[in-house]
């Protein structure tokens, strides 16, 4: 089980690794929330910062692209749907104006996913969980520890599921799955063993956690803001201000 995926945590000493998880979550939420209003200046600035952050965190872009390849296909689908129109007949029309807008939409979505991948690659699940408890605590109706546990488990499990999916896919290709042309049948053949393995792994993980006295009232990591967090928030505000420019 070599590199699980970019989306899993990779230990390191980069500036992003050293930021408080609350700061990283705030930046992710804030920049994602304003991204629908962002135009070219905002998207270019954000892209540059994200690319530099990936480089600083030691994450190869080729790995990220490999990990989110299905999402990239989804973006391509969104782009085509928003660009191609059928006005009154079967002949498709492609408008440059619509293509520009569709590109913006896809670019925004890609930025949000990239920021999420950066957060997960540079933050331990336990820290993400602790930050979430901190954010949810003031909300009266939400059981913050339960919610944070669920998110923590998803974060913990996602790279494992991706690894299992890749392993099943390799095993099926080794037995010539490509020769089956029916995509529905291929989907069934792929998803059934994947679900079975995911559920079995989930059972084993629950037993292992229970064996080590898992409870919601556990010691959370110590979180503390530093000068770096102030600088990161400042940089985040500067990027946010670029939404005012075209």
């Amino acid at each position: 089980m070599d590199e699980l995926s970019t989306i899993g945590f990779a230990p390191g000493q980069s500036p992003l690794h050293q930021l408080d998880p609350r700061t990283k979550q705030a930046l992710l939420m804030g920049l994602s929330a304003i991204s629908p209003w962002g135009r070219l200046t905002f998207l270019v600035s954000l892209s540059v910062v994200i690319l530099l952050s990936f480089r600083a965190a030691g994450i190869r872009l080729s790995r990220l692209i490999g990990d989110i390849r299905y999402f990239l296909l989804f973006l391509l689908f969104v782009f085509v749907v928003r660009t191609v129109t059928f006005s009154g007949g079967w002949i498709p029309n492609i408008s440059v104006e619509l293509a520009g807008e569709a590109l913006m939409v896809c670019w925004r979505l890609l930025m949000v996913v990239s920021m999420g991948a950066l957060l997960m690659a540079t933050t331990r699940a336990a820290d993400i969980r602790a930050a979430l408890v901190w954010y949810l605590k003031p909300i009266p109706v939400v059981d913050e520890k339960m919610a944070a546990t669920m998110v923590g488990l998803v974060v913990r499990f996602l790279p494992v599921i991706l690894f299992q999916a890749a392993e099943i896919s390799d095993a099926q290709r080794a037995r010539g799955i490509e020769r089956r042309k029916n995509p529905l049948s291929r989907l069934m053949i792929f998803s059934l063993p994947l679900f079975r393995r995911v559920f079995l792994s989930a059972d084993e993980l629950v037993a292992a956690m229970q064996a080590r006295c898992y409870s919601e009232h556990r010691t959370l990591p110590d979180l503390s803001f530093s000068r770096h967090d102030g600088l990161a928030i400042g940089a985040g505000i500067l990027i946010s201000l670029t939404v005012l420019f075209p």
């Binding site: 089980m1 945590f9 230990p11 792994s201 292992a208 229970q210 006295c213 959370l220």
Partner: protein, 262 residues
Amino acid sequence: MAVLAWRGPQDNTVSIIQTTHLYHRFADDTQGLCDVSLAFNEGEFTVIAGANGSGKTTLLRHLNGLLLPESGAVTVCGKSVEEDPMAARQQVGMVFQDADSQIVGETVYDDAAFGPENLALGRLQINRRVTRALEAVDLCGFENKRPHHLSGGEKRRLAIAGVLAMAPRVLLMDEPFSNLDYPATCLVLDQILNLHSNGHTIIITTHDLEKVVAHAQRLVVMADGRVVEDGLPTEVIDGVARYGIRPPCSVQLGKGIRPWMS
């Protein structure tokens, strides 16, 4: 079958875990355990042997409170596991057969700290326990490594460290040598023997007696969910083949039980 009772830490002979007429039936109606009555003494090194499906893992999961009996009882330090499974899990640590399924943390430190964090200990105490546990299994300096990048033997030792960090009195190990190469098996066996010499009660399940039986003080043989033999390894070993367990080579050659590792 005689069962020793828990007599408290002041007495000389202490059964730290006891099962009394334990039965377990799975959801598909298969009988997992049938009338298992055993007592494990403090500081004892026990090997539970049996073919696949003989009920070894099911028994271990009962000792740790992961499974609860259909009928019968399991007690740890005199307390019913059914009434307080969390207390049992603190006293009885379990190392799973598949180390990958036991690893919860993203780094070696995170994984070793998982148990103490669940016990809501302070951060200083957690750090102390993690350091001590990693030292005990020779994993110092691995704290920031990703567990999934470790070798099979290192993962197994991390799984042991994760349990040791909870400071249990008993260590249950389910097939601890499965899928390990020769050097990794030697290292894990060496760690287990060290833990035993430091006073831990060790209970190991295996279908391969070769590696460990020479060090055991007691050999329990299971078949079809029942305990069919229980005694000193030298007394029990000759009859194990009839339960689908391969006797060690030295026994087959008529040389008695010999240590596997020189």
